[in-house]
Symmetry: C2
Subunit: 588 residues, 2 copies
């Protein structure tokens, strides 16, 4: 074993890190443990990588999920064998469900100890060393359990490509005796090819012909953009289709803001029977519905209540296409979309005229009739919509926030970060760390989190990591005294939906102790920690003034804005969704 | 389906709860979710059960682990499908590794939706509904995935018995449509039989003969008590053996305090070559070593450094026995121990005289030569040993605390709660909640947590749950500015072993907001929340005075005692263990 990389040889750990950097990853999430510190040495010493050092592994996985959403490439999270990796699983499973590429790198005991089935700490005590990898395989697109240096580079390459092409997590087990062992470095000279596969030309030609015929014969066609358009890197292709075809476009909750909500052809959110009437009419009366990257989950489809017939739907997916009842496996949208756009550009102007007549106007309208100063769900979301700026990041927790913010119209180039399918409470706090790190790397705008007091408690310590890294997100905490989304579904007056009462005014100072900076004992070499501001808001007027304040609009510190709201108040869409969910899972 | 239980019929959920109550479980840990609230209704309405409502699922699983340790019966944790259950896995795996019976009850979608592979929220988005149960099976002794009401009661009974007899977790998937469905109630009239199986009489007789011969021929024999003695309910039998045999007794780190450390035959902790010389001599020079419930993991055995020959070792386990190289499967200690004790009582007095001559004296000796006021590891632990009282609970986090507290002599009936094998940082904070709840139910003494500032951050929010329930543990936070155990192993000056600086003086007030009590908006019906006290301690004198203070000794409030310690200082045993671990996993 050589401790130095030569021109021809590279440590296995360094090989992995070099690939991550080539793919555009510059922050690595995770928690140290005695089986991963050999890799952490390499990360800390790498000029293009920053070790985040999260407060726990679940939060680290959530942060990786958020980071991948903004960067559009793979995120990395490092944990230690057993105790560390298992804590991350819920976060990794969320990335599997929501289609985000994440590599979960687990430092595992040396190969000799594994072979001898030693009774090491962090094991199950029964000699099984494969239990944890078996668990992770259930939520991974691919995995590599390194046992020798032979083929290690190829295995790393294979799973990285697999993660990006499938938009799903992969798992890497890296033993302590291999991380600094060396392999040939040659392969690194060639970047990994993660581009989408070409479609079979004859099949693709046929599909295009059928699709074009359907659209040409339709009196009205509509485009519906969904999550997988962004997950599979088809945002430009999607926008091209919209512009060239002149067709009206709508978005699902998970597809929000992929298309600029100020676009002349954009009409708002379609979510089955939770949709506003004007949008519903246009979408459901269309003769042809073209869906891009559709992900028809219960919460993303108004509990499966689309009134759009299958026979008149064209579905474009990453690895297949359907037209009506015809299924075309292997025909992926990345390569199909540009050709479809070209075909549809022919009558684009004509269609655009038609679109202008029918497209509903989507605006941030404040309910004016309500004279009360109480901050309501109905008032809050359009008001927040007016506050955002181009290139801001908007993260919404599963709950009142993810439903409510659908009502807000977002500026161009806003990144919409929600977890509608997986819906793990607490996710948004960890995700905000990853989003804010990515936004800083990509020189994007501000980062805004919307989370309820209930969800916040699950992952609250990750605010400390934000402060440690000098990040300056806006943390809007909606304090409605417990788990409001659960109350909407079941147990409105049940105490199991209550939570401990936190004093949010102390949160930033608790997790970011300024006094320690002058502590001579400390060896800290972190970046400058964040300046901090806490605001408690109880009236519409106060929030309105705050959001208009020029100083407040400058993201020069981390801010916690506690918005006091009423129990029992919920966005309209959530109330209807909760009814549907409650009756699908009724207990009597 | 009937919504009321009749005399003959009972809801499946109620059947489960009744069994838990019969087994002595009165607190149920967990987090609400839309697939488990039907069960939570039954828990909240049950006169003998209390719903804990943890801050997240990992903490809930840790709390269940702690609760099971004190109660000596099964603990229960309730989560929701996917998002909830996966967050709990690290805690459940810890209970598997450390041998604690825990039932993980997961509220899952209704059977129809599962059968149709619906794209529900909290799913992986690919129609697989069995992925999560497959994951849990890796860390469960048994599981029941309920699909119909037929056989539901038997399945619940089977896994409960399995959990207790194997001292390991089990998994129950409870669909929303079955929890209130009814089954016959008859079976509940008969309590579950969880007692240990009888040994085969002839085989047992033979084993006893061989064991007795070995011991009779030995010039010196020694008993070594380990974790599984308490996990398999053999504490009384173990003490009986000690008293009747008159033999010297020692404990492993995981077996600490199972035998009263003030017992005349007790000599201290044996942990291979990390052991003090006087103990080492007695144990390693014995002709026969009788181990009870041995669990020879690296951290529990000084990195496998026992100098005790296999041929002169008698190992008593829950389901097998070994004498030298002879293996006797199926001969369990629960039934064997009383018979062995009777056989050995014959020469008990003679042996006791011999024991008194050789047994080392184990005392809380304070290092007196050191005049500095800096609180050192060497000084701290014996001083804490003097502070504890009979029936106190002492929880130590994996790290400096679990190694350091080995130096303290504990009073009789102290419960020693550590996680030496699994060693998941942050575990102790959740475990403290479960321990404190169990201690209150059982009317035991005070609860003390020893945790470093590094480990604390992973699970810190569970302090809020303690306050919500009016619990009054002593939380000793050892502030040594980061992950000291990791620094001892690797990366002493690495910034990846640094953590965000918390202001611990704000912790209790942040997680327990007194102002909210007067909030008319609140519907809280929790028990009275805890009174609170924070102390920062920087000198030996201050800590000494505090520990002597009469008011401080009264557990009438939750206390956070922040003890300022130096980076780089660690208990001797940890320093040696770290060297061994570091060299077994060296990176160069």
């Amino acid at each position: 074993m050589s401790s130095n990389n030569t021109n021809d040889q590279v440590k296995i750990g360094a090989y992995l890190l070099e690939r991550l950097v080539q793919l555009g990853t510059h922050s690595v999430q995770g928690v140290p443990g005695d089986f991963n510190m050999g890799l952490l040495d390499l990360i800390e010493d790498h000029p293009s990588l920053s070790w985040v050092g999260n407060s726990n592994e679940l939060n680290a996985a959530y942060a990786a999920d958020g980071y991948a959403r903004i960067k559009g490439t793979i995120a990395a999270v490092v944990t230690t064998f057993g105790v560390g990796e298992l804590s991350a699983l819920n976060g990794i499973a969320g990335s599997f469900s929501e289609r985000l590429p994440v590599i979960h790198i687990v430092g595992v005991p040396n190969t000799a100890a594994q072979g001898a089935h030693s009774l090491l700490h962090h094991t199950l005590g029964d000699g099984r060393f494969n239990a944890f990898e078996n668990m992770s395989k259930q939520i991974s697109a691919d995995s590599a359990i390194l046992k020798t240096k032979q083929g290690a580079g190829d295995a790393i390459d294979r799973i990285l490509v697999s993660a990006i092409k499938s938009a799903r997590p992969v798992y890497l087990a890296l033993p302590t005796d291999l991380v600094h062992d060396t392999i040939p470095a040659d392969a690194l000279k060639k970047a990994l090819d993660c581009s989408a596969d070409d479609n079979d030309p004859s099949a693709e030609k046929y599909v295009l012909k059928v699709a074009q015929k359907h659209i040409a014969e339709a009196k009205s066609a509509v485009i519906l953009v969904d999550a997988c358009a962004v997950r599979h890197g088809c945002v430009a292709e999607t926008n091209d289709l919209i512009n060239k075809s002149g067709l009206p476009v709508f978005a699902t909750p998970m597809g929000k803001a992929i298309v600029d909500e100020n676009h002349a052809q954009y009409g708002g959110i379609y979510v089955g029977n939770l949709t506003s009437e004007d949008v519903k009419n246009v979408v459901e009366e269309a003769d042809v519905l073209i869906t891009i990257g559709s992900l028809k989950s219960d919460f993303n489809s108004g509990n499966f209540s689309y009134r759009t017939p299958k026979e008149s739907t064209i579905e474009l997916h990453s690895d297949y296409t359907t037209i009506g009842y015809s299924h075309y496996p292997g025909i992926g949208m990345k390569k199909l979309l540009p050709k479809l756009s070209d075909l549809l550009s022919q009558d684009g102007k004509k269609r655009l005229e038609q679109t202008k007549k029918v497209i509903p106007k989507f605006e941030n309208k404040l309910a004016s009739e309500d004279k009360s100063q109480v901050i309501t769900q109905e008032w809050l979301w359009p008001r927040m919509g007016q506050f955002f700026k181009e290139q801001d990041q908007v993260i919404v927790e599963t709950g009142t926030s993810s439903f409510g913010m659908l009502e807000a119209k977002l500026p161009a180039k806003t990144r919409w970060v929600s977890q509608v399918l997986w819906g793990s409470i607490g996710w948004s706090v960890g995700a905000t760390l990853g989003v804010a790190l990515a936004a800083r790397e990509e020189k994007l705008g501000r980062t805004h989190l919307f989370v309820g007091d209930g969800s916040l408690q699950l992952t609250v310590q990750e605010v400390g990591t934000m402060i440690k890294h000098g990040l300056t997100p806006y943390l809007f905490v909606l304090n409605n005294d417990g788990y409001e989304i659960e109350r909407q579904i079941h147990g409105e007056q049940r105490s199991y939906n209550d939570i401990p009462a936190y004093d949010h005014s102390l949160l930033l100072d608790f997790f970011g102790n300024d006094k320690v900076k002058s502590n001579a004992q400390s060896h800290r070499n972190d970046a400058k920690t964040s300046e901090k501001q806490y605001c408690k808001v109880e009236t519409k007027q106060h929030l309105d003034e705050l959001l208009k304040d020029v100083k407040f609009n400058k993201p020069d510190r981390i801010r916690l804005i506690e918005i006091m709201m009423r129990r029992g108040d919920a966005p309209k869409a959530l109330k209807r969704q909760a009814e549907a969910t409650g009756s699908a899972n009724k207990y009597e």
